[in-house]
Symmetry: C2
Subunit: 325 residues, 2 copies
């Protein structure tokens, strides 16, 4: 039996999917293979497709690509929880919209305020404190807040196949970046432990900060003013501002990522663009062209036209979440 196993191993080991599989949560098939083929191509020295390690830049959307964005964005839950936590210090919120509706759990009343109401909630919960205070608030929240359906920590609602993909790329000399429409300072406090991505490799939407001396101690105060919206056509702008060069690989799940994928895959040389398609209504949520959260409509067409890889979550992923075995 031992000899047979050794023989089998010697036959199978040359195939990457069998030899020390670094993407064990991915089912074998053309999509997993497309990832492996790309990585092997750009890392093979002496070939025309070889890319120097310095230029192996890979960018990842966060919401819906690295963790679940359903039923609502995690940062939205943070805003709700934070308004409740701060309401003791703000007795006036009991009679003031949009806080009043939120505190009463009146979703309709809340939505009646439209985007202006949402912006007011975001600023009330994200501004008026220093960068370091905000980081502490986020760290504390993320360590205890639970997903409404699964009861798991949000950091356990990250997609296991994508965590493996991040690690696999880094093991092959890639620098991995998050490029998200979410708040840059909302992601940085935990992106290191959860994704292995350092704060300087997190790009996101930001509000204005201001250098001040508080009793002679320098702080950065967070002001209630948008600095940059890192979404849609803003993503390539944010990438250029932070990274200063074009990525060779981009990973997203919605039309909000389309410009980022176009920017990444339209230059000469080997490029890789991938959409995560939410096809699994049982293990997660099935949504695409008509969804309010994470709509993927134009992107599906463009992916088909350009030959980008479209991952079918239901078929391609053995497991979905980090908390699964």
């Amino acid at each position: 039996m031992k000899r047979l196993a050794a023989m089998l191993a010697s036959i199978l080991l040359p195939f990457p999917a069998f030899a020390d599989d670094q993407l064990p949560s991915w089912n074998d098939g053309p999509h997993k293979q497309a990832i492996i083929n790309f990585v092997e191509k750009v890392t093979k020295q002496g070939t025309p497709d070889f890319v120097a390690p310095d230029d192996r830049i890979a960018v990842f959307d966060n919401d819906g690509t690295l963790w679940s964005e359903q039923p609502i964005y995690v940062q939205g839950v943070f805003v709700f929880d934070r308004v409740k936590a701060l309401s003791n210090q703000h007795p006036e919120w009991q009679d003031k919209e949009p806080f009043k509706s939120l505190l009463k759990g009146d979703l309709e009343g809340l939505l009646a305020g439209g985007e202006a109401a949402l912006a007011e909630l975001v600023m009330a919960t994200h501004a008026g404190i220093t960068t370091e205070e905000f980081s502490s608030v986020v760290k504390e929240w993320i360590s205890s807040a639970k997903h409404p359906k699964t009861g798991k920590l949000y950091t356990e609602m990250t997609f296991k196949p994508m965590l493996e993909l991040l690690a696999y790329l880094r093991a092959n000399g890639f620098k991995t970046f998050i490029v998200s429409g979410g708040g840059i300072e909302f992601m940085r406090p935990w992106a290191g432990t959860v994704y292995g991505i350092a704060p300087e490799q997190v790009i996101g939407t930001s509000i204005v900060t201001k250098f001040e001396l508080q009793d002679g101690r320098p702080v950065l105060m967070r002001l209630p003013e948008i600095n940059f919206i890192n979404d849609k056509e803003g993503k390539p702008v944010g990438i250029n501002q932070h990274i200063g060069r074009r990525p060779i690989a981009a990973f997203g799940n919605s039309d909000g990522d389309l410009a980022m994928l176009q920017w990444t895959c339209s230059a000469p040389g080997p490029r890789f663009c991938l959409y995560v398609h939410h096809t699994d209504g049982e293990r997660e949520v099935a949504y695409d062209r008509k969804s309010h959260v994470g709509q993927l409509d134009k992107g599906l067409d463009e992916a088909a036209a350009k030959g980008w890889t479209v991952v079918d979550m239901k078929d391609d992923w053995k497991r979905v979440f980090a908390h699964e075995n």
Copy 2:
């Protein structure tokens, strides 16, 4: 003789300045020793001052700290040269200020326009093209433009002791960043080869860019509009935006760097702040409290009050420029 040399070596080698000196262009003395002491302190595992490699963030000003900013900022020369190069395509500039004065070499006429004139020249030479076109223009210019006094390439007017310091820090696990008031896209094209600093580790002043499709090809157009001024109180803001955490070491030469040094050295834990003091009127230019370029006035007082290291270029540096042997 051989035995004597071996004996001497065995006595002297335990002293860092003699054993494999990684800062050979620095004269031995308290300032060189302060650098070495700091690096040895934060890299010694198992001690309270040990800093994990991930958190070893060092930030460097560029103009006057890593290369000479005298007699005028290098990027200013670029603007002048670029206006001249573009004037063929702009016959109207012959009769239009501030271009007219610049093209005639009339410095007084040029200065009469004040900051608005300067801004117009910057936008005419930095905007209206794509990010990739601008990068090519800068690369071509920097590979041939020469310093007016020395006739050397500007990239040879970098400070050799500072290049050694960058390499020494990186050899000890530090991530080195440029944090400059200069243009982020003006520095990135050559910071890799000259300083060993990748584009994503260059932070600077920026103009607005916009994602566009040109004949179906995605580009980022540079617009004639300031995005962010990364100077003075803007430096800690830029550091937070790009790096997302506080550096443990900061290096500058002017009051424009003061807020960055304050931000770096005001937090708990081991910190290192250093000013390069331009004291060498023979080998470079001697200037500080009253200078128009690179004024160092408040910074000298703060450095004395806080015990920051102030490098005396004349006494502390064996060589000044990268082109010297």
